[in-house]
């Protein structure tokens, strides 16, 4: 993709990339529509739907009553009969109100009716973090969806991927749970102007550079990819080279890329944007563990603390993995007998300024 800039790549934020993807797909296919609470107000879901109603009109871009259960069913029914709905939720936590329709209908319709109907719908939702989001506005619940056959689960971690994946999700003939992260919205990257669809099931490997294999593999989900990239910079100070893998799509999953890196490094830290128990991080660990050719690989998991998310920042900062704790864990795994090391706090500060703009 290094030719991207020639292709018209320019720096675009994640939020603008989402809006561009929606705009291009709505222009390309009139069966596409965008609905959900507040998609048409002046804030436009943090900007990701801003201006769409002016461009495409209130029939294709509309808010709804607070009725997540019925609106999800409506999306399914519309998808079964020729439309391609994009249903937007400002927080992933609210999907719990739509579980019956998503798990018992959307995931099963194509199968239990033996292919008689397809359900081409996208369910966008955002994981919240910090500033007092707290217990009910902060959850990454992707493992629940990944658990159920029939659903696809996508978690783009940069502006380039979010555009290409959203376009693919809209064109996909299955229900796609499209997971965004509030803190990614203002990250930016090189993003081509023209429409492009990224294939699902292709992970992104951020190698340690100059073609060398790394000392340790970091697998990140959603915003945790960014945290892993920051951790990688910190680890470099300690002479530890980390490969960072971004699965991009959780279902379907490109496990082979993870396996290949794990094989190279023999050490994997999986950093999820979720709780560990029965989570996506467990699945990755389990797949490595089942593979006889990966039995030499040592594994660690990181994610939310096994608690509800507290609002107070003094506790919240302990709730999430961060570049420092990730680097610490990775170092301990990579250098079991190495001198004790903790990242330089000043550098850790700076790591937050680091931009990862691709080209991807």
């Amino acid at each position: 993709m290094s030719t991207q800039t020639e292709q018209g790549g320019r720096i675009l934020t994640y939020v603008d990339a989402i809006r561009e993807a929606l705009t291009q797909e709505m222009e390309a296919d009139e069966s596409v529509f965008v609905f959900g609470l507040d998609v048409d107000d002046h804030k436009g879901i943090q900007g990701s739907t801003k201006g769409l109603v002016e461009k495409f009109g209130p029939e294709r871009v509309f808010t709804t009553p607070l009725s997540e259960d019925a609106m999800t069913g409506a999306a399914i029914g519309a998808a079964m009969t020729g439309m391609r709905p994009v249903h937007v939720h400002i927080r992933m936590d609210f999907l719990m109100l739509a579980m019956n329709q998503l798990v018992n209908m959307a995931a099963k319709t194509h199968y239990m009716y033996a292919g008689a109907y397809k359900v081409p719908m996208v369910v966008r939702s955002m994981i919240g973090k910090s500033w007092g989001q707290g217990a009910q506005h902060s959850q990454g619940l992707h493992s629940m969806f990944a658990h159920v056959p029939g659903l696809k689960v996508v978690a783009p971690a940069n502006a380039y991927d979010v555009k290409g994946c959203l376009i693919s999700a809209i064109r996909d003939n299955n229900p796609v749970i499209f997971m965004e992260h509030r803190l990614l919205y203002f990250t930016d990257a090189y993003v081509p102007e023209q429409s492009y669809a990224l294939p699902f099931g292709k992970a992104r490997t951020h190698g340690p550079g100059d073609g060398k294999g790394g000392d340790v593999t970091l697998v990140g989900v959603s915003n945790m990819v960014m945290e892993c990239l920051r951790a990688r910079e910190l680890l470099a100070d300690a002479g530890v080279a980390a490969e960072v893998i971004d699965p991009v799509t959780l279902v379907p999953l490109d496990f082979e890329s993870i396996a290949a890196s794990a094989k190279r490094t023999g050490k994997v830290v999986i950093v999820d944007n979720a709780w560990l128990n029965c989570g996506f991080s467990a699945e990755i660990a389990a797949r490595i563990a089942e593979r006889d050719d990966l039995r030499h690989v040592r594994i660690r998991r990181m994610g939310y603390a096994p608690t509800t998310c507290p609002t107070t920042p003094w506790l919240e900062k302990e709730f999430y993995p961060n570049p420092v704790t990730i680097a610490g864990e990775a170092y301990a795994l990579a250098r079991p007998d190495g001198a004790k090391w903790t990242p330089d706090p000043k550098h850790a500060e700076l790591a937050y300024q680091a931009k990862f703009r691709g080209p991807f």
Partner: protein, 317 residues
């Protein structure tokens, strides 16, 4: 009122086919050839038969696990239904759905769901789609009295009315959810009145009357197709068999045979039969029996699905 005898014939044939097919299913059931639970509509065939007679082939219906009548009335084949119950590859859902999930894309049967109430917003979505596509289709959504207790029903009514969608809601009130009577589930019986507060015209037919249902739904569907927005019909009929399974269950204690009497007297298959001259009726009955025999043979002789089918249809291409 003078009836067009074609109409009476059509409705009689429809009622008779569902009734006899389900009676036959009940006879076969003990043989264990039928590999799924059966929720018979015996006693409540009329709503589906009347409404589907009013609808055109492009119109859309969605129903529930008690959906044999709806599936057949909308044009679904008896072969497909019986083969599905037998778990054969030739079934309406290739054996994957069973009796509770009858479907026919060809006849715009959206399918049937076994989680009560779940089909209601899906039908609303189909109506939203019909409106957005300017297809002129009308959607009819069938559900029971119990389904009206699910919150999604209220959400669906509000949205359908808000968006003025082309949908007819049909609540088949048989006074029970499994063995639980209305009075243990409804604070009041003012359902139509409640639905009307959304600005939705409502109609109550409280005496299992297929011709009245035909009139009411015909007028409603015309208004809906003309852009008048959603309407609602509460149709009272009685389930004469057990909730699930082939038998009667008046001995179970939760309801009495006496309660059923007035409904047996209203039995619409008998009522319409009486409107036809014997010769014509005999012909129809003979056709129906032949269709059932043929479909049963088809189901018997069809092959079970190949093992690879297990992994097909998880995702659409």
């Amino acid at each position: 009122m003078i009836r067009n005898s074609d109409l009476v014939e059509r409705l009689y044939r429809g009622l008779r086919l569902v009734r006899r097919a389900e009676e036959r299913v009940a006879e076969i059931y003990p043989s264990d050839k039928i590999k799924s639970p059966v929720h018979l509509s015996i006693g409540q065939e009329a709503a589906s038969v009347a409404v589907c007679d009013v609808l055109g082939p492009d119109d859309i219906v969605g129903g529930t696990y008690r959906g044999h009548a709806l599936y057949l009335a909308k044009g679904g084949t008896l072969r497909g239904m019986l083969a599905e119950m037998y778990g054969k590859a030739t079934g309406a859902a290739g054996g994957k759905g069973g009796s509770m999930h009858l479907v026919s894309a060809e006849h715009n049967v959206l399918g049937a769901t076994a989680v009560v109430g779940t089909n209601i917003p899906i039908a609303v979505g189909a109506a939203l789609s019909a409106k957005m596509r300017r297809s002129g289709q009308v959607v009819a959504c069938f559900f029971g009295d119990g389904a009206s207790e699910e919150g999604v029903f209220a959400e669906s009514l509000n949205f359908a009315a808000l968006k003025n969608l082309p949908i007819l809601f049909v609540c088949e009130n048989n006074f029970y959810a499994i063995h639980e009577p209305l009075d243990k589930r409804w604070a009041t019986r003012r359902l139509c009145e409640r639905v009307a507060t959304y600005g939705i015209p409502t109609h109550l037919i409280d005496n299992d009357d297929v011709l009245a249902m035909h009139d009411a739904s015909k007028a409603a569907v015309e208004r809906i197709r003309a852009g008048g927005g959603p309407e609602f019909i509460e149709y009272h009929a009685y389930r004469l068999r057990e909730h699930v399974g082939p038998n009667e269950d008046f001995s179970a204690g939760y309801r009495t045979d006496t309660e059923a009497e007035p409904w047996r007297a209203l039995d619409q298959v008998t009522v319409l039969a009486a409107m036809l001259d014997d010769k014509r009726r005999a012909e129809i009955d003979a056709d129906v029996e032949a269709e059932i025999a043929e479909a049963e043979k088809f189901a018997e002789e069809s092959q079970p699905p190949a093992l690879e089918e297990l992994h097909r249809h998880v995702y659409a291409d």
